[in-house]
Amino acid sequence: MEELAALGQGFAVALTPGNVVLMFIGIILGVLIGVLPGLGGANGVAILLPLTFTMNPTSAIILLSCIYWGALFGGAITSILFNIPGEPWSVATTFDGYPMAQQGRAAEALTAAFTASFFGALVAVLVITFLAPVLAKFALKFGPAEFFAVQLLTFASFVGLSKEPPAKVLASMMLGFSLAAVGMDTVTGHLRMTFGQTELLKGFSFLVAVIGLFGIGEILQTMEDGLAFKGKSARITLGVVLKTWGELLRYWRTFIRSAIVGCWMGITPGGATPASFMSYGLARRASKNAKNFGKGELEGVIAPETANNAAGTAALLPMLTLGIPGSPTAAVLLGGLLIWGLQPGPMLFVEQKDFVWGLIASMYLGNIVGLIVVLTTVPWWAAILRIPFTIIGPVIIVICAIGAYTVNNSMFDVWTMVVFGLLGYLFKKLKYPLAPLVLALVLGDMAEASFRQAMLLSQGSVSIFWSNGLVGTIAGLALLMLLWPLWGMAKDMARRRETLAGG
């Protein structure tokens, strides 16, 4: 019950008038970011982060995390009305959401999507509330070796769980680590890979990388599809909301199943996108109307939306407790913590109680605010989406350039953003995943520091990574994840041989 008292304290922090206003601003900006092409949760937060440098950390994280919830809600609007997923995790929502809109059931689909998003987030916040303190307490016992093992597990999971070819996951990740190493080495003070360029002393800012990779890269990719898009309009009335809510009760199993899938995928670095697809697939398999999926089935909207919001929210659990973000946006928020002078990880729960519980309380409130905001303002967002890309496109480039510039007040960063933008476009076209690159760039220095501390403790012997049961288990799991693709390959080969022999 300790948690409930702390949570009460958190509500007291989050419910100050200033913070409630920030919540509304955050949600509205977030939905805007979620509906506009080229601006998503990760780079939206990255662009606005420099503006929060002077705020107090609690208000800043409330603002930025609400932008994140808003973006998670907003993704559904473009998917359903325009058949354009504003975010990769909304792709599965288009499968049934857009057909529903075409049949004139847009309001129903949107209500279902928002409610599902809200439910998924709520379950994930409950999980965070009760699991995070336990996990943090447990993680207090961690030494450098354990931390490195956990980080290794995070990165190994990417290799093991990604849909992309393992070699490309690894290449993307190692590029991130290489870029993270540029600049001053904090342990020895040596300059690494700066080649006499003063701009490189500080190293590459992950904020600039995120703005380029996700923002500019996305804009370039949107250009491919041409400049026009047309969509359905929608107005949500209270009657439709209540009627849809009545219908939704029937799908309680889908809600719970998808929320569990989402929370699991969010905590492990699987992320929101695979969670939404997996949950959609599971719902189709379990449903009696499986044939209707893809033609406008309500359940097909509920399943991915519940899962992606649950995953997006649950991604903050490992970020807060272990300092390891479960998604690119969580990674940007983690970078924010570092900039505000907070050390993410278990000590946060001991030293920064107000911050942590204020944030968790704001997750409850922010999602309630979010649900109200999106239900009441849908026509407005639909109108924004009708602004032609010939206006939106250059404006977003301007926003990205300003965002990149304000990180360090340097033109070099704006050029870096352009290069990352081209790289992001190439990566997306050639199916290299972007998330490992961003995470490696954010965590690179931390991972290296814990690795070197562990090495110092053991006088250079790698055996420290199996010196006790805890670290051994984590390192073992990491190795298992790394080797997982090999197992898949072996299975494929065996199957191929079998079909050859049998057929």
Partner: protein, 182 residues
């Protein structure tokens, strides 16, 4: 491997294909060039890691080049593997990268963006933004001058008020702002 499944229907879509389909660029060259580029990055990091020392130091433990050395080795191995696989399946496998008109659209956005960033330094970000938005609306949206001016002036003005006035963040400014006394 999992990436081999997508492209079977677009076989021989590449630049040198027999049926003369020059409308589509295959992934073959971009894939190889990106992998080679990544290998190049890996080599740069490796060379620098060697300079810094990749071994053990009495006081500091692992030297500065230790971690980058392993990171770059893995980068070299993984991108080398991608390049090798690309070369081995050079003829068999060439799914579409993008069609010519698509690439044209991407280029239509990419070069104004580069010019825009180049203009920020001499002209200031507000004037450059005006030019970018105005050009794009005129060239690709066929907007008339009033609408175009309203948006292209309004957006930079909005950002000016938000950043310079409200948040007190100074963005790059040029001669025109100087004339106006900012």
């Amino acid at each position: 491997m999992s990436d081999d499944t997508a492209g079977t229907d677009r076989e021989a879509a590449g630049s040198g294909s027999k049926n003369g389909d020059t409308q589509t660029l295959g992934t073959r060259w971009p894939e190889l060039l990106l992998a080679l580029g990544l290998m190049g990055v890996a080599v740069v990091v490796l060379v620098d890691a060697r300079r810094l020392g990749t071994g053990w130091d009495e006081f500091d433990g692992p030297r500065s080049g230790y971690f980058p050395f392993y990171v770059a080795s893995l980068l070299l191995a993984s991108s080398g593997w991608i390049a090798l696989k690309q070369l081995l399946s050079w003829r068999r496998h060439n799914p579409a990268f993008a069609s010519r008109p698509q690439l044209g659209s991407v280029w239509a956005m990419a070069w104004p963006m580069a010019v825009y960033v180049a203009l920020i330094q001499p002209l200031g970000i507000y004037v450059a933004s005006f030019l970018l938005i105005a050009y794009f609306m005129r060239r690709h949206g066929k907007y008339r001058v009033p609408a175009l001016t309203a948006v292209a002036l309004g957006v930079p003005l909005f950002f000016f008020l938000v950043f310079e006035r409200y948040f007190l963040v100074a963005l790059p400014k040029g001669p025109i702002e100087a004339l106006l006394g900012f």
